[in-house]
């Protein structure tokens, strides 16, 4: 009786925070990257080397043509080109001045973009924690392979940034950066990624770790990366099934509000409504996957309640992310 009255007077629901906490995440777990996590990272690094043995080297060829040793192509000579690269053999045979192009060898830039909007902290287990673990794992693999790893937090704006770094021993810097992140704000991938693109001229692999709950549309954010010649990869942080199971207790007259925007809506929830909401969530996830497939953007669903090491291993086996 007392609890019912408390609920009627605006108390909290089961496992759900009050409305005034909209747009603000919980405090990060202090043991997010514990020793066990680090041991798993080592294992993942070793496994990744074994899986990709023979075709994986400590460098990656970029598409950028320049002063490397591997021939790439010819192009017509224009005044100002270095005479050393003129293909005289071709001139002798065809009488045309062509310049030889070589693939320039350079280290890969990996951008790990972590969605830090408030919706990432919704549900239990937290998608935000899962995203940070995945980010740390991928960063470690990248650092271990001497790639340039940059970590960016994004919500409605390009937030905190960990500048590009390389070398395995810098992983603790990554840990520290991720540990400091908080899930807050509204998801606006389009705006935040435009800022990100503007700040990073060096193109590379952009791995987006997000639940893609973007009121303005998830497509525009991904397209920003695509159109600016980044290689986007979507790691979709999927809502844990337990979050929906917990919603079975909200049947009745309630006032739902968005955990990011605080937008309120008085509804009368029935079991049928809950079933429809669950179906709508699935349809939303499927729409994301369809879009990525159409756009040739690699997509990988990462449920928040799945062990992160399994997810990383799955990612590596599937390939295309790092090697």
């Amino acid at each position: 009786m007392l609890s019912a009255l408390k609920r009627a007077l605006g108390g909290t629901g089961r496992g759900l925070g009050p409305r005034r906490e909209a747009g603000k995440a919980r405090a990060p777990s202090p043991v997010l990257f514990d020793d066990e996590f680090q041991r798993k990272l080592e294992t993942l690094a070793l496994v990744s080397r074994r899986v990709f043995a023979g075709r994986m080297r400590a460098e990656r060829r970029s598409k950028k043509q320049g002063s490397g040793v591997e021939f790439a192509d010819h192009r017509a000579y224009v005044p100002g080109d270095d005479f050393r690269f003129v293909d005289w053999n071709v001139y002798q045979r065809f009488g045309r001045l062509l310049v030889r192009l070589y693939e320039e060898e350079e280290d890969l830039s990996i951008y790990l973009i972590v969605d830090s909007s408030a919706s990432m902290a919704f549900g239990s287990p937290s998608k935000f924690d899962q995203a940070r673990r995945l980010c740390a794992a991928l960063a470690y693999v990248g650092l271990a392979n001497l790639d340039r790893v940059t970590v960016v937090a994004a919500s409605d704006h390009a937030g905190a940034l960990m500048p590009a770094t390389r070398g395995k021993n810098r992983i603790f810097k990554v840990f520290h950066f991720l540990q400091q992140l908080e899930a807050s704000g509204v998801t606006d991938l389009s705006t935040s990624l435009k800022t990100f693109v503007a700040q990073h001229k060096r193109r590379g692999l952009a791995i987006l770790l997000s639940d893609l709950y973007d009121p303005t549309g998830f497509e525009s954010g991904i397209n920003v990366l695509r159109y600016n010649k980044f290689e986007p990869y979507v790691l979709h942080m999927v809502e844990p099934a337990s979050s929906f199971a917990g919603q079975e207790g909200i049947v009745g007259d309630i006032n739902v509000y968005d955990c990011e925007t605080g937008e309120e809506r008085e509804v009368t929830v029935t079991e049928q409504v809950l079933r429809n909401v669950r179906a709508a969530h699935k349809e939303y996830d499927a729409a994301i996957q369809r879009f990525c497939t159409r756009s040739h953007v690699p997509y990988f669903a990462a449920p928040a309640d799945q062990p992160f090491d399994e997810l990383v291993l799955g990612l590596l086996r599937r390939g295309g992310v790092l090697y």
Partner: protein
């Protein structure tokens, strides 16, 4: 419209409080529980086309409150018991007297007149107006209300279910008095009598004044054929208690001769059969002498061909014979040959002789005879017969000494002097006794009381004021009769004399032992608590058959006794079509046409259910979302 239940002010107050509470709860209910969701556009997509507009949502809330207030208003109205039409001051007040006497069990109207009366009464109930109030009473020898004066038809029907016939006559005068008392000061008073009308003329001639109370009569019954046992008595022969004599009176109330088959059962076994041919309206008393085979109970039954007898209740009669057991008699005497000779006449006496001054023997005695002396009274000594009672130490003193006297006055009904002619007894000397107020003077001379019976501390005594040897009593046959009558008086009390009581009367039943409370077991097995005063229990039995009276804390066996209808008037079951009381004729019951009772509260509660269902479907089935 007016309110028969709570007054309007109380209803308004109750509605105000409950309505205020409902509004407060409603406001609390409006504060919906906030629940965060991860991505509200999905909810918007799901609910968008179903969500009602803001205006409609508000209207829906207001409708919810209005429905709740409507529920409370309907409930408050129902509590008020609103009535349409005339107000309660103009309501009728009816006392329904239903004859439940023995004649109402006649089967000329299938299944019985009483069942028909119950059916007629049900018709009156369904015909009650919305403001009418009724009281149902059962009328036999007593008047028993079966309900209160109420307009609750269900309660009246329950009362009607408790209507039971008795084996008594109907006391119409008592019933009318009860009804008039119940109707005193009430508006539109009315008495309805449902009966076969078999009331004696002495009753119908003298009825209490009705003072404007309307009287209606509803006759029941169609036939009059009946043959009845109207008297039944049995006695043992004094000197041969194994044999007995029976007197049976049978009355043919028909206008045609009747052939009656008679059976008598002693202790449940058939002991006598016979055939009686009775002329029309003949009432014949038949004696059956020198019968044997029964020890305690005797039951007579008559049987007739079908169609000649519609009332079976008066076809059986019951009688109880005095208990045949050896009576323990203690005689304290210096020597009295006449007394010893008299006691020898009865073989059922167990006599113990003790000289004066000797210690009294152990054990309990039924009778103690004190010959010219007295001893301290003890309950174990039983009844005390004082011969020449002394002036001190006895139950009563002497008034003075008298000489040459005899019995000039005596109580002819007293069993002590049964079969005795006291006027012939001559006495030389003795004492005039000084009885107390409650003592019974059984015999007295012109000089004062000489034979007194009574009780001291519950112990009975009989005191003779002279020595029998100073009279010619001991030379007469009256002497042993006096001694044996006195012993029988102590042992059997009235049950020895009255072999059965009459139903409907108040019986004074001798208790089997000392005590103040006892139980009476009826023929049907029901037990009722009775108070015992001065050794007797007063009880108004209404059923024929054998009864038992037991006293709390007494080690004596219960007293058994019998009761019979034995009512000439009640056995004449010819129904009457009209009832004349005190020279005026009772009318017909009017204004009880069957109709629906206009009690609105039931419909109001139905409306509450409908509104509640509407509210539930609208707000709990969630068909709106």
């Amino acid at each position: 419209m007016h309110f028969a239940g709570y007054p309007l002010s109380a209803l308004l107050g109750a509605f105000g409080i409950a309505g205020g509470l409902a509004v407060v709860l409603y406001i609390l209910k409006l504060r919906r529980r906030p629940v965060p969701v991860v991505f509200s556009p999905i909810w918007r997509r799901v609910l968008g086309d179903r969500e009602s507009s803001r205006l409609f949502s508000r209207l829906k809330r207001w409708l919810s409150l209005l429905l709740q207030l409507a529920l409370l208003a309907l409930l408050a109205l129902a509590l008020g018991d609103p009535r349409l039409g005339v107000n309660s001051q103009e309501a009728r007040h009816v006392v329904l007297l239903i004859d439940a006497s023995a004649s109402m069990l006649a089967s000329d109207v299938a299944p019985s007149r009483l069942a028909k009366a119950r059916e007629l009464a049900s018709g009156f109930l369904s015909g009650l107006g919305s403001n009418d109030r009724m009281l149902i009473a059962q009328m036999d020898a007593n008047v028993t209300p079966l309900s209160t004066m109420t307009d609750d038809v269900a309660a009246l029907e329950v009362g009607l279910e408790h209507l039971r016939a008795s084996d008594t006559h109907a006391d119409l005068g008592r019933g009318l008095s009860f009804a008039l008392d119940s109707l005193r000061g009430r508006s539109h008073p009315e008495i309805i009598v449902i009966s076969d009308g078999a009331f004696p003329e002495s009753v119908t001639r003298h009825v209490p004044p009705r003072d404007g109370v309307e009287l209606s009569f509803v006759p029941v019954g169609s036939a009059a054929q009946n043959v009845a046992i109207t008297a039944f008595s049995v006695r043992r022969y004094p000197l041969d208690r194994s044999r007995y004599e029976v007197m049976l009176e049978v009355f043919n109330t028909n206008d045609a001769p009747a052939e009656v088959e008679l059976s008598m059962f002693g202790d449940g076994q058939l002991v006598q059969t016979g055939h009686l041919s009775l002329a029309a309206k003949e009432r014949r008393a038949q004696f059956f002498p020198n019968l044997a085979g029964a020890d305690r109970t005797l039951e007579a039954a008559i049987e007739l061909p079908p169609g000649q007898d519609f009332l079976s209740r008066d076809n059986r009669a019951y009688a109880l014979m005095p208990e045949r057991r050896r009576t323990r008699v203690l005689v304290i005497t210096p020597g009295n040959t006449y007394l010893e000779a008299a006691l020898l006449l009865d073989e059922y006496l167990e006599v113990t002789n003790v000289k004066p001054g000797e210690p009294l023997p152990e054990g309990r005695f039924d009778v103690t005879i004190l010959d010219g002396l007295s001893v301290p009274a003890e309950p174990r000594l039983g009844g005390l017969l004082y011969l020449d009672v002394p002036a001190s130490g006895g139950p009563l003193g002497h008034r003075r000494e008298i000489r040459d006297f005899g019995f000039d006055r005596w109580d002819e009904k007293s069993g002590i002097l049964r079969w005795i002619a006291p006027e012939n007894i001559q006495v030389i000397s003795g004492h005039a006794l000084a009885p107390e107020a409650r003592d019974q003077i059984v015999g007295s001379s012109e000089l004062g009381p000489i034979l007194v019976a009574g009780r001291r501390n519950g112990q009975p005594f009989v005191a003779l004021g002279f020595d029998p040897r100073h009279s010619d009593l001991v030379l007469r046959v009256a002497w042993p009769l006096f001694v044996l009558n006195t012993i029988n008086h102590f042992v059997e009390e009235d049950t020895g004399y009255i072999s059965s009581f009459r139903t409907g009367d108040v019986w004074q039943v001798p208790a089997p032992g000392p005590g103040e409370l006892g139980w009476i077991s009826e023929p049907g097995g029901e037990r009722y608590r009775v108070a015992i005063k001065e050794g007797r229990a007063a009880y108004a039995g209404i059923h024929a058959g054998f009864y038992e009276l037991a006293v709390d804390g007494s080690d004596r066996p219960p007293t058994r006794f019998a009761a019979n209808l034995n009512d000439l008037d009640e056995s004449q079951i010819a129904p009457v079509a009209k009832l004349e009381l005190g020279g005026s004729e009772a009318g017909e019951a009017k204004g009880f046409a069957s109709r629906a009772r206009h009690q609105i509260w039931g419909y109001l509660l139905l409306a509450v259910l409908l509104v509640s269902a509407l509210e539930w479907i609208t707000y709990h089935r969630r068909v709106t979302v």
